[in-house]
């Protein structure tokens, strides 16, 4: 993740469905194409939900990782 410039940080720790997706949508609304949002979540549902959201909205998950129950996603806005 070192080489990716993060434009927006979104802390969704402690949130459950549908909150991370709703927050992600809200955050990306005002972002420009090419900008990157880093979303951090603890909801295990986010593992499939975030890529599903990206595929339907045409955005791109650059990276995703998990460390002791905390999921981190880098999403590039298209």
């Amino acid at each position: 993740m070192a080489n990716v410039k993060v434009d927006v940080d979104l802390d969704c720790k402690g949130m459950f469905c549908p909150m991370p997706i709703v927050q992600l949508k809200k955050a990306t609304k005002n972002m420009k194409p090419g900008q990157v949002v880093r979303l951090v979540a603890t909801d295990p549902g986010s593992v499939r939900d975030i890529p599903a959201w990206a595929s339907k909205t045409g955005n791109k998950v650059l990276e995703s990782s998990e460390e002791s129950g905390v999921f981190t996603y880098l999403i590039e806005v298209s």
Binding site: G14, K25, A52, K56
Partner: protein
């Protein structure tokens, strides 16, 4: 971007346990850039009457446990139905329709409905929307 999708949901129930899935799916659908259309009929109409979302209870005998359920929902940080509706609206992709026949049967006037209701419509409008929708649900 992939092709824009459409969801059509008949909201027939007015109880808390059924309204949560409605507004969870709608807020998420809206956030996924789907056009979401909610058609409120029969007991579902109660949900879009002023104060309806706030007073929704669990069904039947379980209604006594409504407060406890709401507390647990709050505890995990899940929004109230009213907050979920606001999230639906903020996506600008979720439309609310009231069934005109139900309104007549239950003597509900336009002024009794929350301002978020986009239109008062009949079955033909819903079917026109639903026939080419990608997701059709009856809740």
């Amino acid at each position: 971007m992939s092709e824009r999708k459409k969801m059509a949901i008949i909201v027939h129930s007015g109880t808390l346990d059924k309204l949560y899935p409605v507004f969870m799916l709608s807020s998420t659908g809206g956030a996924m850039d789907a056009d979401v259309h909610l058609f409120f009929t029969f007991w579902g109409l109660n949900a879009i009457k002023k104060g309806g979302l706030e007073s929704a209870k669990l069904p039947g005998i379980m209604s006594v446990g409504t407060g406890m359920m709401k507390d647990k929902i709050k505890k995990v940080g899940t929004p109230t139905l009213t907050e979920l509706l606001a999230m639906c609206r903020s996506t600008e992709n979720v439309k609310l329709y009231a069934c005109s026949t139900t309104m007549a049967i239950m003597d509900v006037k336009k002024d009794d409905l929350i301002p978020e209701v986009d239109d008062i419509v009949g079955a033909a409008t819903f079917l026109d929307i639903a026939m080419d929708a990608d997701v059709q649900l009856f809740i």
